[in-house]
Amino acid sequence: MTAPTLEKREAGFADSPYITATFRIRRFNPEVSEHAVWEDFQIEIDPKERVLDALHKIKWDVDGSLTFRRSCAHGICGSDAMRINGKNRLACKTLIKDINPEKPITVEAIKGLTVLKDLVVDMEPFFQAYRDVMPFLITKGNEPTRERLQSAEDRERFDDTTKCILCAACTSSCPVFWNDGQYFGPAAIVNAHRFIFDSRDEAGEQRLEILNDKDGVWRCRTTFNCTDACPRGIEVTKAIQEVKRALITRRF
């Protein structure tokens, strides 16, 4: 077996030059000042590293007070959604080379949720909206002895929305949510979708009524920001449209 393309890439890896990149970070710490400020950090970094690596480099080598959430560092835990060059992304899934390191890279907290310190926001309103859509399987009658049966097609029907990691990148990219924090927001609707279209669930009507609320799906203006922002590639806007259609047709 030969893998010529790979060997070439590896050679590139080996002599990879470090570059100097500027990270322009929105700092806020009410213990220090009530005003948020932009602060520039210049660091030497391999452009194939992630924005999260850059933030760590700054925190560990330059300024220990820089504060952000992170855990798994590979796009599964949903801790490190932030606004990078004006777009919501996970810092651990964004390679520096992909966001033009020749210009200063801006990093700020996601919008629409209260900033508590630097890149850390209050997630509670986000999780409250999630809890409000009853995000758990609801069934009636006696439980079967073995597993419930579900065809591969029925399982596929809601596969896309099971991928959600509750990072809030979608909800905090939504202009409707920025202007009205009462709106459920895309993530909560995605998680309602996950159960409405699960053939085993028997509370679809109830969930639809919740989303029929004035702060529900009808607030969506189909701007597709959420779909662009989703680090898991979920077709968020499509899921919201499917919920709207289900509300009209009452078929799901």
Binding site: E7, D61, T67, H74, C77, F136, A152, T162
Partner: protein, 584 residues
């Protein structure tokens, strides 16, 4: 300082913690303390599946599963516990399905199953399809499903609360759990949680290695809190190195990739696992595969300019199969390596993955303070614990199983204990240890930096106590860790504030890692044999006469305040399987 009172307190909100919480909340007033948000826990990173002999797609039974678990653990497994694990696996999977977990399905609508390392039909005859899965994001689905059911049950969470101390009170001369002390990240406030029962479910310690699949937050906080209070840690020398981490980064690529037909190849394109494991080949147990990979690399058959990795080859699998069964890991290869797995093999190397050892418990999840005596009111489950169902090497898909089976058991046992017990008095000044630790760091002016010490620790662990160990390398690690512990006393932090002070918490986490790394290295030095994940080049054979026993490490503090580690040993519970030579 605030004082809270709960019947049951659970430390950690990953799979084991939330599975316990679902049981315990129904039976007792329960609080779950997590240093993250529940859905951020590292259970979510598990990929390949959860083992259970459902026999949905081919003949299987729990006895075969028990045997595979015992053999996989190189006979250091407590066989009574393994039998419970394999038997209760079936209900554990069905419970999750009923809670809503979207498993992949067979054409007839039942839960689909696939092959995984070390799982075999009829005691090693051939690979068997035992892993129940949801694409390559089974852990994600388990974590989400358990959180969803916690929401349904109204489980009370304290998010971003770091548990930093275990409180123990002597009641009639018996060491009894009195509660825990936690630090609230948002405010810097210290909280004492008085509880009748405490369950540790706080996960692993992988961050003392550099190349690891573990999250930044896996710093062994639960193990360290118990160890500092004089409780033993069991089998800490046994750490699993998963064969397929992304080269240099350590990000996990599931064994399910090989379960779906993926093949490991060296620089000559040779399927080298055929040499090392003629029957199970690429699906031999993880310790065997990781050693084989490093043997290839050491003998000059590694790939790349530095010959420091091998390939995971998926190129012969149909793209539709990769999309349907392995969507996440193929995306990792694209995102982090710029490689298209349809056409190019993926560079991989073994990655520090899982602690087989931990806080010793019996099969009810009760924590032991010596070989036999339980600590009333104290429980542990999941990776933080050592039951021991994994022995010297865990089989893939047995950890998602472990957290569900023993998380549930611990949740029920703890809540039942709470129901029949009274609160015990808190020790005097219960928050003093944490308060002093926090104040010392906040006022620190020393010249050492946390990130520097942590990096040196990780580098020495990777270099000296990884897949291959010798007396010489382990001694090097022990000496280095001692030096780092000394320098740690002189560490200072930059953020002196109270609000979201992650600088402070990283310093505390490093202290935990240093304590646990020392226990690991000292335990490894004393085990002069090779077994499962612990491979000594100077003692390459298993020695059942002298070492078929669990290590129990205790922290001792002398009259002059000097600390040392005392090692003791605990017999292995053997029921039906006699140790045999281990071949795959």
């Amino acid at each position: 300082m605030k004082i809270h009172k709960y019947d049951t307190v659970i430390v950690g909100a990953g799979g084991a913690g939330m599975r316990a919480a679902i049981e315990s909340t129904k039976r007792s007033r329960t609080a779950v303390l997590t240093k993250l948000y529940p859905t951020r826990s590292h259970t979510g990173a598990a990929q390949g599946g959860m083992a259970a002999a459902l026999a949905n797609v081919e003949e299987d039974n729990w006895e075969w599963h028990t045997f595979d678990t015992v053999k996989g653990g190189d006979y250091l497994v407590d066989q009574d516990a393994a039998e419970i694990l394999a038997k209760e696996a079936i209900d554990a999977v069905l419970d999750l399905e009923k809670m809503g977990l979207p498993f992949n399905r067979t054409p007839d609508g039942t839960i689909d199953q696939r092959r995984f390392g070390g799982h075999s039909r009829n005691h090693g005859e051939a690979p068997v399809r035992r892993s129940c899965y949801a694409a390559d994001r089974t852990g994600h689905m388990i974590l989400q499903t358990l959180y969803q059911n916690c929401v349904k049950e109204g489980v009370e969470f304290f998010n971003e609360f770091y548990v930093l101390d275990q409180l123990i009170t002597e009641v009639d001369g018996v060491k009894t759990s009195a509660g825990v002390v936690a630090y609230e990240l948002a405010t810097g406030e210290i909280h004492v949680f008085q509880a009748k029962a405490v369950i540790y479910a706080s996960g692993g310690t992988g961050k003392f290695f550099k190349v690891t699949s573990n999250a930044h937050t896996l710093t062994g906080d639960g193990q360290a809190a118990c160890y500092r209070r004089g409780l033993p840690l069991e089998d800490m020398e046994f750490f699993q190195f998963h064969p397929t981490g992304i080269w240099r980064m350590g990000i996990l690529l599931t064994e399910g990739a090989r379960g779906e037909g993926g093949i490991l190849r060296n620089k000559d394109g040779e399927r080298f696992m055929e040499k090392y494991a003629p029957v199970m080949k690429d699906l031999a147990s993880r310790d065997v595969v990781s050693r084989s990979i490093y043997t290839e690399i050491r003998e000059g058959r590694g790939c790349g300019p530095e010959g420091d990795h091998v390939y995971l080859d998926l190129t012969h699998l149909p793209p539709e199969q990769l999309d349907a069964k392995l969507p996440d890991i193929t995306e990792f290869a694209r995102t982090y390596l710029g490689i298209e797995p349809y056409t190019d093999p993926i560079p991989i190397q073994p990655t520090a993955h899982y602690a087989m050892g931990g806080i010793p418990t019996n099969v009810e999840g009760e924590v032991l303070r010596d070989n036999t005596t339980v600590v009333p009111g104290l429980y542990a489950a999941g990776e933080v614990a050592c039951v021991s169902v994994h022995g010297a090497n865990r089989l893939g898909t047995n950890s998602l199983l472990d957290i569900n089976v023993f998380g549930k058991r611990a949740g029920i046992a703890a809540a039942e204990y709470s129901a029949k017990s009274d609160y015990v008095d808190l020790p005097e000044n219960p928050a003093s240890f944490v308060a002093e630790q926090v104040e010392r760091l906040r006022n620190s002016t020393g010249s050492e930096r946390v990130s520097v010490l942590r990096k040196e620790l990780q580098e020495t662990m990777d270099a000296n106590v990884m897949v291959f160990r010798t007396e010489q390398t382990i001694k090097t690690a022990v000496e280095k860790i001692a030096e780092l512990r000394e320098r740690y006393l002189n560490v200072s932090i930059q953020d002196k504030g109270k609000r979201f002070n992650t600088d402070l918490l990283e310093a505390i986490e490093l202290g935990n890692l240093l304590d646990l790394a020392e226990v690991m290295a000292v335990s490894a030095l004393a085990r002069k044999e090779s077994r499962g994940g612990h491979y000594r080049e100077d003692f390459p054979n298993r020695d059942d006469v002298n070492f078929m026993r669990h290590t129990m490490a205790y922290r001792e503090v002398g009259d002059d305040g000097t600390q040392s580690i005392r090692l003791d040993y605990k017999p292995v519970v053997q029921t039906r399987y006699q140790p045999m030579e281990r071949k795959y």
